[in-house]
Structure formats: structure tokens, C-alpha cells
């Protein structure tokens, strides 16, 4: 659908001539995210202020044109893909830190800022922003809010919704409102509803985040196992013993080898599983906690325990974990990452079923897990240009989600439903429940123009 000439002119008036992109070669890159779904916007608008966003939303609403706000496009579920065309609001120019107030334990940032930049800005104050999705170098806080992003450190510190105190939002009717600017609001928790709503209820333009003091001490260790089940049991026991590490990350053999091939961070290539465990907190307690974790790992037959001696070694252990997803494409050009979450004691069983499903469909799967949270990311590697192989990958992915639900888990822990998992929503919710969610969407977006076609099943 081509952009209406009059609308185009009005858009250029709002943001300036050069800040509206309409050439096909410019638009293509805004049709992607990190999932398999694709769309094509009619125009990309580079916005620089809340007022511009509000004007554009009003214009889109008046013209009946769909729109979606976009950060860096790192979504793994199709979140920012313009499913119905229309406008993409490119938020990356709204990337300022506007206020840091340690006395208030808060900071106010614009929605387009990269997650990691918030931490960097806070560091001189001795503070940080806790949620750390693996994409944090480039993913934006606006996208994090939309997806209720997690990350390794969420085991101890909680997910985005625990760390967002307020947002400025442009509602689909074009009005601008702050929720939680001066402490908690009375009434229904609309802020809580907005976080994780995948950009379908409004466009978030500013975020007031909770900031926490940097921990006094950190110890990062790598535990190496010859059995995936032993590693998973160690995870359950650590938590069961009352220890709450900052992270409990797991990688399986396939993932370890791919990481070593591409980054050579020093994971043992013949191990069946490694855990990247970080404990943090007051200096007086750190050694005791690290020792307790090490003891449990040994009890579960860890063959090696390596404690990072300095920041460089710590960074190397983490580089492997953070880069693992990208490294998967060494095996095959495409990856599809599942995001099921299960009660953590079910992990050994679920991993066994994942392996069986991979065998059944003749696919390679590398597992990457936020094991402490029971959140598993089986990476299915395949060639998306081969339709038959893509079909097998999709089927395998769906079956993995069925297994997660079967053991009392959920189909998405942190990546969102987007386009990718819409039809898996029925695994979790009945028609009455879905209807209530659709009605909520309608309350905020009666014309169904704000990031439409996401979340809800189509088939």
C-alpha cells in the first residue's frame, strides 16, 4: 500500500523533510526484526520528541493508518514488524538521559536509549539499572518496556516490570500522559498492564527507571559438567538451598562448541554443559556464598570450577554467553529461538523432550538457558530459504512450546508473543480469557491501528 501523498506531506511537515523515508530500499530494513517474520512499512518517520510522536499518532489515527514504534529491532518475536504496513516510528533519536537522581533512586530516560547506555550513565553515581537482556548493547528501553524484557541478572533482580517506576505514553487517541511520574498511582495498575503489552496499547516515549546501587563485590564462575542433568540438578539445589545468585546461566554442548568456534572464550569443548554463575552483594558475604555454590556444583559432579580472577576473565566468560545466540548462525543461516519457561525442576525432563523433538525433525538445536528462572532458549538452526526445512523448524518450535505448557510452564518468558507465537496463545488461554485481552486492547486502541495483528491468534 503506497503512502497517501497528503499524509506524506503532513508527516514531512511534522518531522522535517529528510526525516520521512519512503524509498523501497530504505523501507526494507524496517520490515525486519530478529525473528523470521517480515513486513514492509509505507513510511519510516524519524522522530525526535514526544510532541512529534503525538502529532504523528493523531495523524495516523485520523487517517486510519497503522503505526508501530521501533527501537533497534532486536525483538525475537516480530514485535516491531509492521504487519499491516503503515508507519514505523523510528525512536533512536530519542536517546537522552534526562535526569539521574540517586536520592530518588530513579532516572528518567527517553525511550530510544540503549539499555547499556543507562548503566554507563549511572556508573559514576555508583548505581545501575538491573535488567540486562543479552541484546542490551543495542536494545532500547522502549523495546524493553514493550516486551517486559528479562536477562541473566533477572534471577536475583527481577524483570523490566520490577524496575520501571513510570512511563510517559502517547495513547492511540494522541493524548500524552505520565503514569507513575511522582510515585505510585491510585486505581488499576495501568502501568503494569502497559509493560509487556508489546507496543499495542500506546507508544512509550519516556521511562522513569528504578536505579540500584552497584553491588560491593561480584564473583563470576564457570562450572563444567559431563551431564546436562547434573548441571540442571545443581541449579535446582542452589536455589533450594536458599542461595540466590545474580545469574545461573546454562549452555549445552552444541552451544559451547559454536561459541568456541566463533569466540574461543575458553569453554571446554567436550563438556556436556557449563553454568555461568555470578554471585554479588556485600563484600563480607561473597566468599561464603561462592563457596556454597561451588560445594553444590561439586556434589553434582562438576568436573571443573573456574572462578574469574579479574574483570577481563569475567568479561570473557560473559562474552561467550552474550554472544551465543549470534554465534548459532555459524551452523546454518537461520535460527529460531524458543522462549518457553517452566518450573525449574522440570528442566531436565523438558531438555530431554527438546532433544527428542530435534531428532524427530532432523534439526540441530543448541540450548541456552536462564536456568535459574526455568527459562529455556532452544536455538533451532536451519536454512530459512528452504521452505521444507523452515516448515520443520516451525513445527519443532511449536512442539517445544506444547511441552513447556504441559509441565505447567508458559510459551514465552521474555521475548513476547508478537507475530511468531500468536497461534500458541491458545495453548495457554481459553476464548473467554483471550476475549478479555482483546477488549482491553480495544479500550486503548479502538481503531486497532497501534501495532496491530500482534499477540492474538489468527487461526
Amino acid at each position: 500500500m503506497a503512502l497517501d501523498r497528503k499524509l506524506e506531506k503532513q508527516l514531512r511537515k511534522i518531522v522535517g523533510k529528510r526525516n520521512v523515508l519512503t524509498l523501497p530500499e530504505q523501507l526494507t530494513v524496517y520490515g525486519y526484526d530478529a525473528s523470521l517474520d517480515r513486513g514492509q512499512p509505507d513510511a519510516v518517520v524519524l522522530v525526535d520528541s514526544t510532541e512529534q510522536v503525538a502529532q504523528i499518532v493523531r495523524l495516523a489515527t485520523a487517517s486510519g493508518v497503522p503505526y508501530v514504534a521501533r527501537g533497534s529491532g532486536t525483538s525475537l518475536s516480530g514485535g516491531p514488524v509492521p504487519a499491516r504496513g503503515g508507519l514505523v516510528l523510528e525512536m533512536s533519536r530519542m536517546a537522552r538521559v534526562e535526569e539521574i537522581d540517586p536520592r530518588d533512586r530513579s532516572a528518567v530516560v527517553q525511550a530510544g536509549i540503549f539499555n547499556l547506555k543507562i548503566g554507563e550513565a549511572l556508573k559514576p553515581y555508583g548505581f545501575t539499572y538491573a535488567p540486562d537482556p543479552a541484546s542490551q548493547k543495542v536494545s532500547t528501553i522502549g523495546g524493553n518496556v514493550a516486551e517486559n524484557a528479562g536477562g541473566p541478572h533477572c534471577l536475583k533482580y527481577g524483570v523490566t516490570s520490577h524496575h520501571v517506576l513510570g512511563v510517559e505514553v502517547v495513547w492511540p487517541d494522541g493524548t500524552v500522559e505520565w503514569l507513575g511520574q511522582d510515585g505510585e498511582e491510585a486505581g488499576y495498575d495501568l502501568l503494569g498492564l502497559l509493560i509487556g503489552s508489546e507496543g499495542t496499547l500506546g507508544v512509550v516515549t519516556r521511562v522513569k527507571v528504578k536505579i540500584v546501587p552497584l553491588p560491593e563485590a561480584v564473583k563470576t564462575m564457570l562450572a563444567v559438567f559431563d551431564s546436562l542433568t547434573d548441571a540442571a540438578d545443581a541449579v535446582s539445589e542452589i536455589i533450594g538451598e536458599g542461595i540466590l545468585p545474580a545469574t545461573l546461566e546454562m549452555m549445552d554442548r552444541t552451544t559451547i562448541q559454536v561459541v568456541e568456534d566463533s569466540m574461543a572464550v575458553g569453554y571446554p569443548r567436550d563438556a556436556e554443559a557449563v553454568l555461568v554463575i555470578e554471585v554479588d552483594g556485600p563484600a563480607a558475604g561473597i566468599q561464603v556464598e561462592a563457596d556454597a555454590v561451588a560445594e553444590i556444583c561439586k556434589r553434582h559432579r562438576a568436573r571443573e570450577l573456574r572462578v574469574a580472577r579479574d574483570d577481563a576473565e569475567r568479561d570473557r566468560l560473559w562474552a561467550g554467553r552474550r554472544g551465543a545466540y549470534g554465534a548459532m548462525t555459524r551452523i546454518q543461516p537461520s535460527t529460531m529461538v524458543a522462549d518457553g519457561t517452566v518450573p525449574r525442576t522440570k528442566l531436565p525432563y523438558v531438555l530431554k523432550r527438546v532433544a527428542e523433538i530435534a531428532d524427530k525433525y532432523g534439526l540441530t538445536v543448541g540450548n541456552l538457558l536462564h536456568a535459574g528462572d526455568g527459562n529455556l532458549h532452544p536455538n533451532i538452526v536451519f536454512d530459512a530459504s528452504n521452505p521444507e526445512e523452515k516448515e520443520r523448524a516451525l513445527k519443532a518450535s511449536f512442539e517445544i512450546l506444547e511441552v513447556c505448557v504441559e509441565v505447567g510452564g508458559t510459551i514465552s518468558g521474555e521475548h513476547g508473543i508478537g507475530l511468531e507465537k500468536r497461534n500458541a496463545m491458545r495453548l495457554l488461554f481459553n476464548e473467554r480469557e483471550l476475549e478479555l485481552m482483546r477488549q482491553l486492547k480495544h479500550v486503548f486502541d479502538p481503531q486497532d491501528l497501534c501495532n496491530p495483528d500482534k499477540i492474538f491468534p489468527v487461526a
Binding site: 533477572c154 486505581g187 488499576y188 503494569g192 563484600a283 519457561t341
Partner: protein
Amino acid sequence: MTAKEAEAILGVEVEEVVAPETDEALADLVKNLAKEQRRFVVAGSGTKLRWGDLPKAPSVTVVQTTGLDQITDHDPANLTVSVQSGVRYAALQRALGEHGQWLPLDSPWGGDATLGGIVAAAACGPRRYGYGAPRDLVLGVRLVLPDGSQVHFGGKTVKNVAGYDVTKLLVGSYGTLGLLTEVTFRLRPLPQEERSLVLTFATPDSLDVAVEAVLRSPDPVVAVEALGTRATGLLRSEGAPVPDGAYLLALRLEGTRPVLQAAVDRLASDLGPEAVGGKAAVLESSDSAAFWNKIERLFYSGWQQAKAVLKLRGPVRNAVGVLAALEPVEAGLAWVGAGTGVGYLKIDSPEVDLVSLFREVRSVLGPLRARVDLLAADPAAKRELSQAGIPLWSVSDTLLARMRDVKKIFDPGNLLAPGRFVGGI
């Protein structure tokens, strides 16, 4: 609870009090009541029935959840528990304690409070600073809608982003959207030990400097409560270990022994006479717990008799400012969570002119960007305010309009606790 008892609190006729014992019985009951267009109010054990506005209906039926009293699924290895909504707080903590775990949430209004009521009122106490509010601890809910249908949102895992986070809407919804039948919480291991540091300061300015130092420290502080001069005096006169000084700051720390020792030593010196001017008393484990029990008893337990309790909400940075601004309001006892921005003003004397007091509080808090709600009061006090045209809650009209639309989705017939919540929802 008898119909008479409920009537005295709700200020309207109570047709009957019914207490179904299963989810199905509850769903059937609701369906039948709805068919007859009867209005109903949900109650647990009644510790917070005084919260919220008076029902806008000539008469209501009270649906009591205390028959739904089973812990349905405690999974110690996963640190989660699912409970029926009528399970009582003390009973749950006892059961969890046998496994070395707890629900990290205070119930300063008593151990009889039901978990359904705690969640519906989003109620929590001083340790919210360290562990979060109910919204942060609830993983999933089951509920019965006014049409009798049973639905669920969320689940049993800590991370879950499937669909809209409808659970958040239910937490703190005062029973106006649906009747909770089951709630799933995340748990924590019981802390090994606790300590408290009780500090007093001569002026709000020195108190404020101390609070800033606490908020900047990475120590395992789980509660940061600041008390106004009248609350400080009351605590002292009741025999709590309170040093000389007008304003009090109470810090609760939880963790392992070596960590606590190091933290308490450091804080006592950072906030002490030479640094900020605080006079400190350090309370070891059982004394620490006793101190907080005393706070609960003196400040939270008398809400059923108090004329009114006002809830104060504002930016964390202004929490001590709020406390100082309320000093001239002589009729009230004031205390705030200096790390959460949420505080209370308790008015005991029945003689107080609530209307002018409310106006006074609003005007002194305005410049501090803080807001005030009437949280709990007797029916006469609520009528006094509404006759003077003062809304019980502070909420913007635009947000309120959206909340009304949300209410309509869940309860189109306006049968559930009509008028009890913000803006007459």
C-alpha cells in the same frame, strides 16, 4: 462475619454473608446472584473491609472467601506457592516456614488477613522496600467473573510475558473486577538472621541526609521507615528502645551474620553522631523482630477504631519532606517508607474535622508532588468527605476514564463492589 458486623463497616444494608467452600460453589453463587442483579462485596477475614469507599447500592451481599482455605500447590524447589484466596497470612507463613521459606510480604494488619484480601488491596508493610509490593510477588491469579465464568491470568513461573499482564490489573483492584479464587506467589528463602538500627535525629534535615546515605548504600536493608515526632514519642512511651531525638529512622536488615555485622557497623558510623548526628540503638535478632511487631501493633492494628487513615504517595526524594510538612497536623500520627515514598497519616480522635484536615493535607503536600487518599475510615467519615465533594482518591480524570472502561469489560453490570474504588468505580 455476621451481616450486622459487615453493615457497621460498609454503611449499607447487608442482605446476607455467604461463604462458599469450593471454586465451583463460588462460581455458581456468583452466577445466581448476578441473574437477580444483586450487588456483592467480597471479603476475606474483614481486616481491610474498612478500606475503600462505601458501596453505591441500597444493599449488598457479602461473599466471604474464608471457606477457600487450602494451600493448593507449594513447590519448594521452585520457590512458588499457590493458595486459595481465603488462606490466612499466618497459616501460610507457618506452612512455608517448615520448608525454610516465606512469602516476603508484611501483613501489619494481622495474621488473620487472607491472601486474597492482601492481593485485592495491594497491601504491604515496611519490607516492601526490600522485597517489593504484591504486584511484584504475584505470578498468577484465578478468578470468577460476575458472569460466573472462571478464568486465569499469569502462571507459576517468575518470567512470563504471554499476552497482556492482566494479573497486574487484578492486584489492588479492591474486588471490583472479579472474585479471586487462587493466587500464585514467588517465595524467598527465610533470611538467616535480622538486625535493626533505630536512629533518632533532631531535625528533618539531618533525617533526610541519613535517608540519602541509606538509599545509596548497597547494604541488605529491607525496610527504611521514618517517623514523625508524635509517632516517635508514642513508640518511646510504649517502651521501645528509642534514643533521644525528635525524628526516628528505623532500618531493618536481613541476611547472613557476617554481612549484617559489617553493614550495621558501617551504617551506625555513617549515620552516627559524628557524621549525620543520629543517635543509634542496634537491635539483635529477637529484639529486632519485637521492635517491628511493636510498630505494627501501635501504628497499623487500630485502624478498625481510628477515625481515618490517609495514605500518602509521592516521589521517594520527598518522603522526608512529606513527614516534615505534616508536623503541624497535630491530630495525626505520620510515618513514611522513606525508600518507597508511601506513608500514612492516622487520625484517632473522633472530634477532628476531617474535611478541613483533608484540605490542609492536600495543600501542604501539593508542592511536594505528593498525593493523598482516604484509605480507611468509618462510614460517617466517608460520608462527611463525599458530602463536601472531596474524592477519596487522587487520580487524574483522564486515567480514571480509562479505568472505567476497564471495569466495564470485567463487570458490565456493575455488580462487583459498586462504588468502592477510585472515582466511584
